[in-house]
Symmetry: C2
Subunit: 154 residues, 2 copies
């Protein structure tokens, strides 16, 4: 039942290549309609977060005026990377439909495997070093949040 939406995602992925981006496209679908579309715009938009899924999620949220896409499905021409999987998670999307998988992507030079390993690794084993500073002071915003009576959890 998702074939027609996947064909649109694939068309966007081809359009992405034709317009200076990477070969990835995605659509967000809710109640049978496409509510957001995206193609990879990392290079043309000078934005490393502009993967097709993130572009499509931001478009869908802008269209609906909410950060919460509960009940929506994302149809992506390729299996999402960890950044995009995180975005899908935070958007509360309920299902991922994909075409190419990470092995297909690795075969043309987009190797998400290292990032999957990085996220899964304990911090001390990561390639990207991290250091903690001012832990006590940093708690101040958390205390503000806790004390705020009209906060909107998300």
């Amino acid at each position: 039942m998702y074939e027609s939406f996947m064909r649109r995602a694939i068309a966007l992925s081809c359009q992405g290549v034709d317009t200076g981006g990477g070969p990835f496209g995605a659509v967000v679908v809710k109640d049978g309609d496409i509510i957001g579309e995206g193609m990879n715009r990392v290079v043309p938009n000078a934005d490393p977060t502009a993967h097709a899924e993130i572009v499509a999620i931001r478009a869908a949220c802008a269209a609906l005026g909410t950060h919460d896409l509960t009940g929506a499905v994302i149809v992506s021409s390729c299996e999402p990377c960890p950044m995009c999987l995180g975005a899908i998670w935070w958007a509360r999307i309920g299902l991922v439909i994909y075409g190419n998988d990470r092995m297909d992507a690795a075969a043309i030079g987009f190797d998400d495997a290292a990032l999957y390993a990085e996220v899964a690794a304990p911090q001390e084993a990561r390639r990207l070093p991290a250091r903690r500073v001012l832990a006590e002071e940093a708690l101040s915003a958390f205390q503000l949040w806790q004390a705020k009576p009209d906060k909107v959890p998300y």
Copy 2:
């Protein structure tokens, strides 16, 4: 040496709470200067990807006109979630400095642990279901990419 930048990230995290967002702030630093700032804007911007780190990275990239932040450091009031760690990775940032850790965040209701487990899990063990369709057709954009003589890898 990152204390002053962390104090700015903490100030942004408090400003985030005061302006309807979550208690998170971040700055991107290069050559000793802040080149991008962000605070959590998920609810006010209706954008689930608007974590402080992503906002700061997008601002830094817009300021420099490139998707590549090689040589930059991100200073975040809290340990990055997997989505943000992915964005930091794709931006080629070389060091993460953080204040609160994921246990501090969990203690006030921001539990990134489930997402870390999700990204680390094999697809069949994830909470978020995924299905593959039209794998053959989806390869078309990858073939276009491979054949494109003037492609810009990223």
